[in-house]
Symmetry: C3
Subunit: 281 residues, 3 copies
Amino acid sequence: MLRSRTKLIELGKRQLCRSMCKSSELTLVEVDDKTGIATLTMNKPPVNSCNLEFLRALKSAMKEIESNKCSGIILTSSNDKVFSSGLDLNELRQPNPERLATFWKELQEMWVTLYLSNVPTAAAINGHALAVGCVMAAACEYRVMLPDFTIGIHATKFGYVVPPFIVNTYLSVLPHPVVERALLQGKIFSTQEALQINLIDEVVNSKDEALCKCADFIGSFEQTNPVARALTKRQLRAPFAKQLLEDPETELRESLEYINTPLFQESLDQYLLQLKKKNKK
Amino acid sequence: MLRSRTKLIELGKRQLCRSMCKSSELTLVEVDDKTGIATLTMNKPPVNSCNLEFLRALKSAMKEIESNKCSGIILTSSNDKVFSSGLDLNELRQPNPERLATFWKELQEMWVTLYLSNVPTAAAINGHALAVGCVMAAACEYRVMLPDFTIGIHATKFGYVVPPFIVNTYLSVLPHPVVERALLQGKIFSTQEALQINLIDEVVNSKDEALCKCADFIGSFEQTNPVARALTKRQLRAPFAKQLLEDPETELRESLEYINTPLFQESLDQYLLQLKKKNKK
Amino acid sequence: MLRSRTKLIELGKRQLCRSMCKSSELTLVEVDDKTGIATLTMNKPPVNSCNLEFLRALKSAMKEIESNKCSGIILTSSNDKVFSSGLDLNELRQPNPERLATFWKELQEMWVTLYLSNVPTAAAINGHALAVGCVMAAACEYRVMLPDFTIGIHATKFGYVVPPFIVNTYLSVLPHPVVERALLQGKIFSTQEALQINLIDEVVNSKDEALCKCADFIGSFEQTNPVARALTKRQLRAPFAKQLLEDPETELRESLEYINTPLFQESLDQYLLQLKKKNKK
């Protein structure tokens, strides 16, 4: 506890790293001068929904952080209610073919960049983390979450069949039978439920505490060799990323095909209609 | 609780669905008019042991239920002591080669039909579930069991080496180290032990309650898109069914070869002799 | 308890099996005449660190035990503080190429022999089990450990990237996310922590009790067919040993390449320096 508090003070002194100033406004990057930990804050109003531009900004920010030899990445949100609402469904609805293809490639690349990041990654989940929002959290090595929020992949509820790399992200964190049921039900977990199934590691009461816990986690690698660590991580995770590493074109084609089916388009329309009705009430 | 009770009343009103009347006497199929849930009752006296004809009846009943657009399948038994005792060992002992091949193909097809069923599947385990009886329960998406019964795959006790698709059924439900020990020991679990390792989801005190829990589970998919659900299920389970989907002939050949070894035939004889002695006492 | 105590007495009567007398002094093999269980005691002073000769002795002892139709193997240590400290790092530091290749092949063969042993294997962990010491324990089917010791694979702490067969040994026992974090952190678990994550099955208070528990575990297979058991084990474990069974040369080449990198050699030097400083204090 004392150690955490000391760290809290240190974190208060975080400064904007000069080399990071170029980061787009969609993402904010701060680097702690002492620890070398980069905090990557998602900052796309209103709810960090992932459109083409935001995915690109996220990927760039992560690549920049890695090339700057930071000691780790903490992923969090500037919105104190929503970590990320997932993909921007407008990108999927009646899509322009070219933009959709570019969009999906950015999703693939953002995911590979995060999932196989050379440095330790931790998610400070300070709001709801839905669909790809949950996937981003699950792609990190560690997760801490604030109470009274929700997290999960509810794709079957809007007629979406998640691609293998998303299944595999869940399988990196949860046992197979738990993944099966969660994906089939489109289950959204409360913070407490997420803790029970180990979808998250810990629950804390404030964003600052969450950032501290993430910093502690990244600090746990201090005595390890970073190259050996990165190679070991790649060895463990590469099998789950195999398709996207070796044949992203096939995954792209299959995903685009499915998104363009009338089945999905109609199901998506229905879902958006329901959401509208719900919001009006 | 209240909700479950209301459902209990509804279930009391279940009627024999007309389209289902053709189901053989070895299996009984009832469909709830309101929920669309089909209850498939195994009804082969005395203990639902799977011979050629019973496997065929099970497969046909499942295919019929799926083609009738039911909302889910509950698998249960008309015997209030035994869910299923597994394969009819008479099919394996000094077998007629042709019948054995046909028998094994039916086992493969029944398993694929159940394991990859498009609709939600749930097992109301109202008695002992041994060997393939356990496999059928584990191939469902959800399991609820009555107390004071047993469940497990005890193949090593009669010299049998379970084929990969049976290993994989266990692996769909249990962690690898648990599967290894259970299969090597030929472990039969009590209801309580099965709950502890999550081989079953819940324990209830009556068959009616079990059917209600299964109906609740199937109802949990109400707000999901059934096609997306089915495709997601197939995506998760197909890797475990790969051999039977792509090359059932090889699995058939390997299984027949093993069944015909003197090692297995002698071990089976010994086991049946022991059973006889035990029953005489 | 009573049963265990009776067994304790029986174990007290263990005699050196004549056929086993040839076992080298680096390993001691005793066979219980009644149960047929072989106790393989690692006996390389000071801390059972695995150099070429010791790996060879271990492999030979295991092969000898199997060919003598023993009913199972208990792996333990003659040192009451250390089960095994892992690989002898002198074999890896500025290595002679030929000796290193021979050494690594022996490691591969010892591992395959233990991991795929036809008979039940159990580890009585009566001291620290580090790196390959932990791997040997994890390659057994059952583990019981004494309190106040440590167990784990800390390879990332001396810049080592564990090869796939070592990752797979961990994955045979622990869930994927636990393996990832443990390997990346180079985590050494206390006895109590190891119990919590199921890296070990039980904690006992003396070596004798540990040997009894292991004997009980091996006895749990009494009613199974040993051939069916061995084939089932191979079926479950062979996928994890695939590379070493089918293409040990590639694994050898990759391992030797990594060991010879300046990255690893420097990291190892640093680590050994730290150890020296620590021991001087």
